[in-house]
Amino acid sequence: MISETIVRFAFFINSSNRYKKVKTFFADILVNPEYPYKKYLDSFMIFLILTSVGILVHGVRNPVPEWMDFYDIYIVSFIFFIEYIARIWVHNDLHKVIVSDYEKALFLQKKFSLWHSLKKIIIEKLHYMVTPAAIIDLLAILPAYRPLRVLRIFVLFRVFKLLRYTKNINQFVEVLNNKRFELLTLLFLLIFIVMTAGIAIYVFEETYNPHINTLFDAIYWALVTISTVGYGDISPVTHQGRVVSMLIIVSGLAMISFVTSVIVSAFSEKLTELKDNRVIEEINTKESFLILCGYGQLVKMFLRQKQESEYPYVILEKDPEKVKQALKDGYNAIEEDASRYDVLSKFNIKYSKITVLCLTQSDIENIYITLNAKSLSKDILVIVKAIDENMERKYRLAGADHVLKPAHVANVMFMTAITQPIMHNALEAILTGKSMAYIDEVKVYEGSSFEGKRIEDIPLKEKKLLLIALKREHNGEFIFNPSKDLVFEKNDVMVIMGLKISVDDFKEIHQRGLL
């Protein structure tokens, strides 16, 4: 009976879109680093951690006011508790296990055992709960339990919690992890030397040295000496003891320089990769950005024409020399091969509007990048430069949204310059927006005050604007010089021309619905 109700409930949840939406939201905000709003939660948690630790330190010498105590015990701990539960919750889907087990049982005409499914679920959740991160999360909640004053020190686990919210420390750990073998070897060597030297000094000096009474004292002395810290609270008094000291001081120096060099080399090996990841992470937080593939004349020219704050970008170039040049020229470039799937998939495809510009020197590579981008997501806009103009068809087949043919573009400019010089100047002025005429497009968004209005009702004339054409969304048709009684539909795009101030003013009217 209970089992039936639970199964029914699991099916209900499984089919509920709302539940799915809510859960995705929580999963995104807690664990998806690409989710744009995650940083707000992260900052908030860091704030809680820092205040909590601050209160602990403050409380050492001063009486803690009641409200601070209340905040520390109840509010912070409660939020951490909620977070802990939420993390366990989003780790996997309960109902899916039940639903799939139930369906399997139905298919095989076996009796469905709820207990069996529950066991599976609990094991999986436990699996998460024993990960170091989850344990730290749990320990960070503990200081809330007041009767045991000792638990206060668990506030320090809140500091460890910071690891979750700051990527730098994780990267540090990751780099060291790469040198695990070297570091472990050194650690064993250290233990070996300390133990040997400790035992030796214990044997030689236990009777003569008043400070060495136990083996622990001896080992403590060995470690302090080998690390070159040398407090001096214990020092050898016999000749044999001094010889042992000299030996371990020398081996200690060697070991310290060895450890330092291992860590330095680990970082220098990983430095470019870390930097590149940084660049990608940063650009991933942007709402829309460009990926420029290949660094050359065209990219340089393009970036030079770009306005300061206009679209963020990153250059991917596989030739290290060119990357160096790009960095020297002051551009944001990393050494990566854009035709590789794992390179493009590092970018925030789900939440950012990405435009890929394939501007490498080879058509084959450009086609490959186009396909690569389009296979990741159809929403990625791909603009590609064709080296061989006959390749256009292939680029279209690969899914490129725009194919640039430099010679062709130049030809059009040549032709207008020769046959229609005034139009040539006008076009150039319009498009570069340098003159009195500024051309821009305004999209009638859904629910806009323009929707359903006639052109006559829109203050075009008053704002000294020229409505050149209208593009209808549903058929992609251009209505040139539209008549006064044409009615706006949603998603129409108006192409208007006028002074920049007029255009801006008009856009504001549209945006704010001031009609």
Partner: protein
């Protein structure tokens, strides 16, 4: 009378321009210093092709270049292109020279050498990417104008003497009646610069002013005929 254009260089770009100009009824003279390209131009059906050493001034002087003739420098060797521009500007200072450039530095040099207009291959392409990103719909629309796919184009129309437009203010003319749109004009009285209609300054139309309109080809021709009349 047909317009003339002298093409200096018959490379990839030169070939494209020649084809375009031929469609627009230009008289084309192709000048090449490379035998292979000279042959290619002949094979492509151009009659007036001259093979000569373009670095010799006397060769160029012998060409019958007149004041309004277009000189188009599209040599593949960019150094030669700059040199040629300078020479041509020296020999024929009144002729408009349009040159091809492949970098920002060359563009500067070509202008210094006396080119009237320089088309920078990278600049126009980069411009196009910017336009595609900033104003996709507008770019599509203007492409249509240029390629004439919507049957709509720009036209520069000079106001003839004795036209009914002569002496009228711009605001008084209802262009929508003719199904066309006035984009801007060159007011001979004020300056020879192009003024956009949206600049907000009112203009008096005079004969000799040039109107730049967009509209259907047919309507534009019709309008051009209409303004020849004295009365509306």
């Amino acid at each position: 009378m047909k317009k003339r254009a002298f093409m200096l260089g018959y490379g990839k770009q030169g070939k494209m321009i020649c084809e375009g100009l031929e469609k627009d009824q230009f008289l084309i003279t192709i000048i090449e210093s490379d035998r292979m390209r000279y042959k290619k131009a002949k094979e492509d059906g151009f009659a007036d092709v001259i093979l000569m050493d373009v670095t010799k001034d006397e060769n160029l002087e012998n060409l019958l270049i007149e004041k309004e003739d277009y000189l188009i420098c599209v040599m593949d060797d960019i150094h030669l292109n700059v040199y040629l521009t300078l020479t041509l500007h020296d020999l024929f200072p009144d002729s408009p020279i349009i040159a091809l450039s492949d970098s920002i530095h060359t563009t500067e040099k070509l202008y210094m050498a006396g080119a009237t207009k320089v088309i920078d291959l990278y600049r126009v392409t980069a411009n196009r990417i910017h336009n595609l990103l900033r104003k996709p719909v507008t770019t599509q629309l203007l492409d249509g104008f240029i390629l004439n796919t919507h049957n709509i184009s720009f036209k520069e129309i000079e106001i003839p003497r004795d036209s009914f437009l002569d002496g009228m203010m711009v605001e008084e003319v209802d262009f929508s009646k003719y199904e066309i749109m006035l984009i801007g004009m060159i007011d001979k009285e004020l300056s020879s610069h192009f003024i956009f209609i949206t600049s907000g300054i009112s203009h008096k139309l005079d004969s000799g002013d040039i109107l730049v309109c967009i509209g259907k080809q047919f309507d534009l021709v019709h309008f051009e005929e209409m303004i020849r009349r004295k009365e509306v």
